[in-house]
């Protein structure tokens, strides 16, 4: 390559590796602030892109999601695979954690099969040395046929050397593709044979997938590869697929295991060999007494839970107090500035004042004062907990209880965060593994009463009705959450919801990295949510100005007045809650005061409960909505919004009507007894609803499920028995046979 051409040559790089190996740290060290973080189109998976200029080259770097293998278990794996194969980055940097060499190399070998230019970053090399080991780089380079580089990402050591190695390769013109791996004799023969078959029949028409990878994956019966090949060959693949299936069946019969187990064991054999050859034991490994103690105690059956409680309560209280302090002083600042603004902007009745001050500045303060002081520290604490490696342990401890509610153990993290603020809770749902889990934990965690809702409950129900009614209210909420969890489990795959999580070693947090991550997350939130909050603030002022509020009240009255039994005037205050939940109560209090009555007189006890209940459930605040939309897509957010509105109205309505019923039968009872009976009847009602939904869905799915799991497998092995077109039947390739369908 000539010098003049390399002036600002662009090189595309993909960072790939297991979760928690420091990929993102390397990414941050390389790209600094110039990164764009978004989602993969239509997916709930984060996509981080960035670029950096280094020695006359522009490196465009993409940080692929952390995965354990290139199969199709999770959406991340599919995304990463498709990116590597279709977008063809110029180089792949495979980041691995030296301390877990064996498991990390499993992924490396899979990347190797793709036959792309690759470089291996051996991260956390310092920890390995401290543990008394060393690594024989030359041996790894020789065995894998790729360049390696020792890296200590958190201290920015060896990170830019990665780029130097790439430039070296680029300039020397010897771009080294990773060499294909050599399996054991038996598997190697099969793969060779499949490879030559693929080649001679020109089945693999483009060079997107490498020969070895395709052969390996087609032998493994990988759905994606199969689909890809069938599409490329216009469905003329029956013969080849049958051939592959025969090979696969032979192997399975011989080993008595499923094909993926056989192949993965084979890879692990190779990996194990590399591992044993390349790791050097320098001295008897020093035991990490303190670390072992922490490892032990944080998962202990008693102390573990104590530590969990202290960590969470501590975090919560700290953030709650800090947030309230900042938020309170912001509110004060706003109030203090109001007279001045009134003066400069031409009085209370001037529309400029109303739009600019009440609308724009008010919205700005609502966002900056009401949301940010809670969101930013929360992000900060999640980053710390994640960095030191505590979160998987919390999931381990709470898995059982979470399963009772019907969600995955890891959901405990967003749920607990949700008590503080729903915004970080929803973003924390990204830790879930599959798309479905992620969505169901978003649903659950967005229903957890955040600190704003706690303010409403305390300021209304607790203040006027005392602790027992408050408890009852929370019980209703809890039962609704459990019911939704149960309904979600009906739809989900049982095995998918089982916990498989890595409890990696505790690490000393690196504050520079944490600050950077917090900054990125907060920045995203500010860019997305703040403009919307301000716009909504202005819109609401316009509503007030044009006297549209009464119309809104009338419009909502069929629901609020007749179905929920609330006063007519309350409708519009429910809309204010969209901006910031506590506005519901704050503005209502102002209104009630202006009428010269007490809140107690304005709302009857049951109205108070219904109002709070609907505030709890009806809609996530605007900031939350924005985050949900970003994390899970517009469609999901819209659906969630719709069902939340509908569900909240129904639930509050049911509670109201049950109470009406109870108080009509037993008018002489005190309110406490009446509400207690109401809640009991409500539980029963909810139980029946969940039970019926479960029955209905199971009944509906029964035939479908049998066909999709057990029956299909059976049909595939024996080929199609339902039509006479043995092994030419469409069922084998397209999983649909016309005759087969008609028999059903």
């Amino acid at each position: 390559m000539s010098e003049s051409k390399s002036e600002d040559k662009v090189i595309h790089i993909a960072l790939a590796g297991n979760p928690n190996v420091g990929k993102s740290v390397i990414f941050n060290q390389l790209t600094g602030m110039s990164q764009i973080v978004g989602n993969w189109p239509g997916k709930t998976v984060k996509k981080a892109e960035g670029k950096c200029k280094f020695k006359n080259y522009i490196f465009k770097i993409i940080d692929l999601p952390g995965i354990y293998s290139l199969s199709t278990y999770s959406i991340e794996e599919i995304i990463s695979r498709e990116y590597l194969v279709e977008e063809k980055p110029d180089y792949i940097i495979n980041v691995i954690d030296c301390n877990q060499l064996e498991r990390n190399l499993f992924f490396t070998t899979q990347l190797q099969m793709l036959n792309r230019p690759m470089i291996l970053a051996l991260n956390q090399y310092d920890v390995l040395l401290r543990r008394g080991f060393d690594i024989n780089e030359a041996k790894i380079e020789e065995m894998l046929g790729i360049k390696t580089q020792k890296v200590v990402a958190v201290h920015n050591r060896g990170v830019h050397e990665l780029l130097e190695k790439i430039i070296e390769m680029e300039e020397s013109g010897k771009i080294q593709n990773s060499k294909p791996i050599i399996f054991g004799k038996e598997i190697e023969n099969e793969i060779q044979r499949l490879g030559s078959e693929l080649k001679s029949n020109e089945i693999l028409q483009d060079d997107s997938y490498s020969l070895q990878f395709t052969a390996f994956k087609i032998l493994e019966d990988d759905e994606h590869i199969k689909k890809h090949l069938i599409e490329k060959n216009d469905n003329q693949l029956d013969h080849f697929l049958y051939y592959v299936e025969e090979k696969r069946k032979n192997l399975e019969d011989f080993h008595g295991e499923t094909i993926s187990t056989i192949l993965n064991s084979e890879i692990y054999n190779i990996v194990n060999h590399i591992y044993e050859e390349s790791i050097i034991i320098k001295k008897s490994s020093r035991s990490f007494k303190v670390r072992n103690f922490f490892d032990h105690i944080t998962v202990h059956s008693i102390y573990g839970y104590l530590i969990l409680a202290v960590v969470l309560l501590g975090t919560y209280l700290l953030i709650f107090n800090f947030g309230n302090m900042i938020s309170g002083s912001m509110d004060k600042l706003y109030e203090n500035l109001t007279p001045n603004a009134e003066h400069t902007l031409g009085g209370v009745d001037n529309w400029i004042y109303i739009l600019v001050w009440n609308g724009f500045v008010g919205g700005l303060f609502a966002g900056v004062g009401g949301v940010l002081p809670f969101v930013i520290p929360f992000y900060f604490f999640i980053e710390i907990l994640q960095d030191i490696g505590y979160l998987p342990r919390a999931a381990y401890l709470m898995d059982r209880f979470m399963h009772r509610i019907g969600v995955h153990g890891k959901t405990i993290i967003p749920i607990l965060l949700g008590f503080g603020c729903t915004v970080p809770a929803v973003s924390a749902c990204a830790i879930m593994e599959t798309e479905n889990q992620r969505k169901s934990s978003i649903i659950i965690s967005s229903m957890i009463p955040c600190s704003a809702i706690t303010t409403i409950v305390m300021g209304l129900v607790f203040k006027f009705r005392g602790p027992w009614v408050t408890l009852g209210l929370y019980l209703i909420l809890l039962s609704v959450i459990i019911a939704i969890g149960k309904i979600l489990t009906i739809f989900s795959d049982v095995e998918e919801s089982e916990l498989i999580i890595e409890l990696h070693d505790f690490r000393v947090p690196n504050f520079k990295v944490i600050m950077k991550q917090t900054w990125h997350r907060s920045k995203e939130f500010v860019y997305l949510a703040l403009p919307l909050i301000i716009i909504l603030g202005i819109l609401m002022q316009i509503f007030v100005e044009f006297n549209l509020l009464d119309w809104i009240n009338v419009l909502l009255s069929p629901v609020t007045e007749y179905f929920l039994g609330l006063p007519l005037e309350i409708g519009v205050y429910l809309i204010y809650g969209v901006l910031r939940k506590e506005l519901n109560l704050v503005l209502l209090e102002l209104y009630v005061d202006s009428q010269g009555i007490l809140m107690d007189e304005f709302l009857s006890p049951i109205q108070m409960i219904v109002f709070t209940l609907i505030t709890l459930l009806y809609i996530p605040c605007l900031a939350t909505f924005v985050v949900i939309r970003k994390e899970a897509g517009r469609k999901f957010a819209r659906h969630l919004l719709f069902f939340r509105l509908l569900g909240a109205t129904l639930i509050a309505g049911v509670v109201y009507w049950i109470f009406q019923f109870v108080s009509n039968i037993k008018p002489d009872w005190t309110f406490g007894y009446q509400i207690a009976i109401t809640i009991l009847i409500f539980f029963l009602f909810l139980y029946i609803v969940v039970f019926l939904i479960g029955k209905f869905i199971k009944h509906r799915d029964k035939g479908k499920r049998r066909r999709s799991h057990g029956f299909k497998e059976f049909a595939e092995i024996k080929s199609c028995n339902n039509c006479s077109k043995f092994n030419k039947c469409d069922y084998k390739t397209n999983s649909s046979c016309n005759e087969f369908e008609s028999l059903e």
């Binding site: 354990y68 293998s69 199969s71 278990y73 301390n99 877990q100 060499l101 064996e102 498991r103 499993f106 019969d253 011989f254 008595g256 295991e257 499923t258 993926s260 187990t261 993965n264 064991s265 692990y268 490892d295 998962v299 202990h300 059956s301 573990g304 998987p392 999931a395 381990y396 401890l397 898995d399 059982r400 209880f401 399963h403 153990g409 795959d493 049982v494 095995e495 998918e496 919801s497 089982e498 916990l499 498989i500 999580i501 890595e502 409890l503 990696h504």
Partner: protein, 86 residues
């Protein structure tokens, strides 16, 4: 033929849940679905792998195991499907 041999062997296979803590055992068979098996092998659990149970969370909670130098937590239901022998 192969099938019957496997059946006989299965008598010595115990679900990993029933193994006392800190004993080295090797995985014989994983009787989970396709996806879960794939996932487990991605995390390093394949037949023949040496594993060790470290702890279990109370009330039939997940187990913590040591595999290939890493610690994993595996849900109770899935752990029931991993069969090992000493």
């Amino acid at each position: 033929m192969v099938q019957s041999k496997n059946n006989l062997e299965k008598f010595s296979e115990i679900p990993i849940i029933n193994i006392p803590f800190n004993t080295n055992v090797s995985v014989v068979h994983i009787r989970a679905g396709f996806k879960a098996t794939q996932r487990l092998s991605g995390m390093g659990i394949t037949p023949g792998t040496q594993i060790k149970i470290l702890s279990q969370a109370p009330f039939r909670g997940p187990i913590q195991i040591m595999v290939r130098g890493t610690r994993l937590a595996i849900g109770y239901g899935l752990a029931m499907k991993i069969f090992v022998k000493q």
